[in-house]
Symmetry: D2
């Protein structure tokens, strides 16, 4: 049986003395191997990743495996507890509007760290050695940064959470950030550097992300490695680090199903086989891939009640009706086009995400779709 | 073809000059008959009733029918527009917390109207004549009340909306208030006085409501008739007025589906046949009925993420697990009962409603169930 | 030095394992005497009472006094932590809309407790003895009720909080529930039975409350004594129990000032002198009193931005302009009455409360005023 | 008398048919002169700017003046109407969290417009001519952009509002964006290019903003001119355009006072004298200036209730107590430092902004201060 360790990380005290903690579970296998980091619910209402963590932990407690896996379920408990009506107001800080997945930092750029010295020192070392040294380096830098911000009362809610998660994950080789869409089919955000790995994760839809930084966890975790590779290249060594970071979108928010989680867990276990973390032969699966620039948000052109007409995960053609918006102040008109307004696809694509409510205001996100690039 | 008339009722001006209106559509048949009133979306996020109205109106524009039908779709546009995150914060006034379906008034009691004079005058008249006279009487009283409240700046948001809807509906013989649950199977609230009519509405689950007043639209509309019958009885005449008011719960909030609406509309049309509003033979259907006192809310005993284990509309037995709440701060425990907390049924029943989110805090509404009375 | 004891009462666990507690502090004096109960912040954003508790506790730790004082500061921590934007969304449960001060229960009525037996048993006892016995009786009943509700998963958020506070306070002779208005001058809610006591509390404005129940803490605590007195009276003994319950409104929500608290504390200490809790001579002060039915809410007749023109606590005459609402979509009009809409007093009165925002929608609470009665 | 023109700009339709408009008022003087643009309430709860607009319009209707002034009061009516409890949830989109003052665009950069051609054509023209030509150019580009976004359903709420305001303001020479802090003293954001002008605006506190873009209105309006000047410089002509854009912070949100507005209006009229828009001699006033990098946010190190101890606009020294946070779960401790936590200034400064609530969670914005630099 593998070793399971729990660490309790103080996150946020509340008025009146209650305190939110993060619970970091580490399962260590019987022998050395990749270090994996998995978190769920960074957006407070995206619950399904926690079921996947539960399911994975049940397996990994007993399965022979190499390396270690860190789990942080409920990685944003403050947000998960933010109920308004029946629903979870968990996507952004209710106090400031800051999206909980936008205040991570590109440590190397933001602290203006020059990696040349580091790379010179380890120029001749093996990939594995450099990887480990760099993980130590990142770890120290995050600790310093946290102390500095804390001592000056510069630590905003979002920064603190994001910093704690970066610190907890910076020693990992593989990062899986478990999200869901509002009302979505399964899809995967994958950096260009990891695009070949993705076929072992068995997601049907893959969005390819450039090596650029916009504040999200996946970007924040792979950017240091991009900077490191670039610095080595400038010094004449071409090296690809065995570091991969993915954002997994596990269908729809507010839902939590163990039976669905077991199927989703199997996809991750297949990837673990591929990475030699657990025994067994992994099988690749083809996926539909588009570059992130082809992941298009369709904003509602009107206000009204929408009847959604394309199912999640389904293809549509240019000219198809994606949904019909009904307006109720013109029902006396004999011409039904006065109150019945179709939202028509401007291109071929696949429906990935839709708004979980049919009460729609002009300018709200209605759909997110993968636009087909090759037509 | 029948006559369709639209009336635009000013509801609420907004800061900056925009204005919400109610749109009251009246379709009048080729000959006299029952007067029906149908409204939807009193709770802002309960959308499906609007689809049923749309579908009914399409039919009634052309169908031969007797009497008249008033429709008020989107009867609470201010609430329907109150979006927080993706969802509609539409159950209660965001300013005061007042539930939009609790500020109706029992006109006769609240204005201390003594009906003896009215009943004496019409003691010998036919039921139909008295009904019409009483509807006129209610109409005048509502107008007076509105003017009085308005002139003294005593008109609160909720009162105003509720008053307008009562005024618009008080001339009707049949009232259908179209709601949905948060996440629900179809069910019907039906006053004892109308319990035999319910079998023509084809709802599978019926909650029997006493002739008492607690602020809701259905109660507010049938109570005047209860008072009238009681007064006649005191004067020695036993009379039942052909007045019926129902609350129809059309599954789940935030959803809007025309295809589902067409099936739901057929139930209403069957009732219309029974009431001789449209031609054709109605068929009764048996239903499962419980008194409202057996409609039990189960509040969550714990906080955590729940995996729901009984489907909406399904029966369960005492001792069945309705759902399991998972807590993520004790996952290292070998004893899974430390983090896996079942919610066990304390009696036999049918699951009518559940919370649409799996992120549950202690003390939140988890389920609403029909408790089986005969065991 | 007096004895200070702390009790930690579990209130509500949150998702992720954090837990809200209530902290009940009891200071016991050197000898027997009245039992006082003081709570603050039942509405989450009404903070000033906590400053008063702090200030009182500092004094009472050292002052010679008789009897005991229970303090529950931050009596609703869940609500105080519910931030939306910068402000506290603390007046009602964000999940259900239930006002936190409306779900207390009139224990005797709601549990249909017949007090005749109790009164017969103690018919000849002293007021002090009966008072103590009745407090024990209430205490036991609340414990039973809590266990019953909890075991059946019938305990809603609001019920639980309200029940805990009733249980904690039911052994007291004097209850001070510390609130604030939204933006208010100081005022006091006082039951008819306690109206003579009020002059020792030194509040300038007093609202007289009937012996009726509408769900609030003050009513819920004095109603059992009203029922008890009525029952004794039916048995032929006229007795007034030395029990008093007040709601103190300590100016405006969101504010917290120790220097202001020291002045407010002195008012309570004067009352303590009057009740012989602390040594010294109390002085009565006259107040302006109106019956609660003359506490009038003025709802906004229009939407717009309001310039408030009467200061809190000030008198106004019928015809005075209380504020002017400006609308910005008609500014081109030469006739300024098209965009400049005065709110005119319909009677003489005193301004007690106003809305803390100048952005006003039609139908919102604008002012609460004491209407001058003609005596 | 000057000419006053009103334009009604459709902004956002609501579910149910209501529609928000912007009202753009243009007052044109008797002869040519600077074109001024003034808007208020971009953040929905920041109301005072509307009072200033009202007050300015009253004067300008009659005052002899040169040029023209555009006013857009209530420039974000959707946000001003978003009430939660008594307060306005108006700083960010409740649907997405997007701050209403962060989605403006730096048109030249974002559309990758190369200005070299434009500058070559007008290389020898006067500053005034080029200014006018460039304003026309911007105007056309904004129109094109709006059509493009609209036709593809790419127009998000925030983008649409921001685009409309940029389009409305892009022909102006002077832009005044009227804001308030949450709870603030008066202060001014001023670009380096306009720093000398600021002394005629009579604000006591000035924050100097670099010529960089971060999404706000002031930056979005001055950046095109920065790009234009840079392009001219590359072509060998050093030219400073007479274009200035300021953000005026008019004390605290939720407030609306005409009497205060009259004093604030006089500051703007003094600037108008300086710019020769109205007759009279302007007087400069010294101000306290710091670079934006010295505008420091102090986040709360603890949760609790804070007693604010420095007044808005006042100086403090390193080591001063800015406020004391009280925690109520340790009141039994004899050592008061267990529950009484001072927030101590780490440097000399001036208090500009504080949180309008004393209920503070760890990590919330507590203060914004001007840190004294050593010059």
């Amino acid at each position: 049986m593998n070793i399971l360790k729990k660490e309790k990380i103080p996150l946020k005290e509340l008025i009146g003395g209650a305190q939110h903690f993060l619970y970091k579970y580490t399962i260590t296998g019987s022998s050395g191997g990749p270090k994996v980091y998995i978190q769920a619910s960074l957006h407070g209402g995206e619950l399904q990743g926690n079921a996947v963590i539960l399911s994975l932990m049940e397996d990994l407690k007993h399965l022979p495996f190499k390396g270690s896996v860190i789990f942080i379920p409920l990685s944003n408990p403050y947000a998960t507890n933010n109920k308004l009506g029946k629903y979870t107001f968990g996507r952004f800080n209710p106090n400031t509007g800051d999206n909980w997945n936008r205040n991570f930092i590109d440590l190397i750029s933001s602290k203006k760290i020059n990696l040349t010295g580091f790379c010179r020192r380890y120029l001749k070392e093996s990939e594995a050695t450099i990887r480990e040294k760099f993980q130590d380096f990142l770890s120290k830098e995050f600790k310093k940064l946290e102390i500095q911000l804390q001592s000056n009362n510069e630590l905003h809610d979002n920064n603190k959470l994001n910093l704690i998660l970066q610190k907890a994950s910076c020693s990992a080789d593989i990062i899986l950030d478990l999200h869901t869409g509002p009302s979505a089919t399964e899809y995967l955000y994958c950096a260009t550097r990891s695009i070949d790995e993705a076929q072992h994760l068995h997601f049907k839809h893959v969005l390819e992300v450039d090596h650029e930084f916009a504040g999200a966890m996946d970007e924040a975790t792979f950017m240091p490695w991009v900077h490191l590779e670039e610095t080595f290249e400038r010094l004449g060594r071409k090296i690809s680090f065995n570091f991969h970071s993915f954002t997994l979108e596990l269908e729809s928010e507010e839902g939590f199903s163990l039976s669905m989680a077991r199927m989703q867990k199997d996809k991750i276990l297949n990837y673990f086989k591929y990475k030699k973390i657990i025994p067994g032969k992994s099988s690749p699966k083809p996926y539909i891939k588009e570059h992130l620039s082809n992941y298009i948000t369709i904003f509602s052109p009107h206000s009204g009640l929408i009847d959604y007409q394309v199912d999640l995960g389904k293809s549509f053609k240019k000219g198809d009706i994606l949904g019909t918006i009904y307006q109720f102040h013109n029902l006396e008109k004999t011409d039904s086009t006065k109150y019945q307004l179709p939202v028509i696809a401007a291109f071929d694509g696949i429906l990935i995400n839709k708004c979980p409510s049919s009460a729609i205001q002009q300018g709200m996100e209605l759909f997110q779709v993968m636009k087909k690039s090759n037509n």
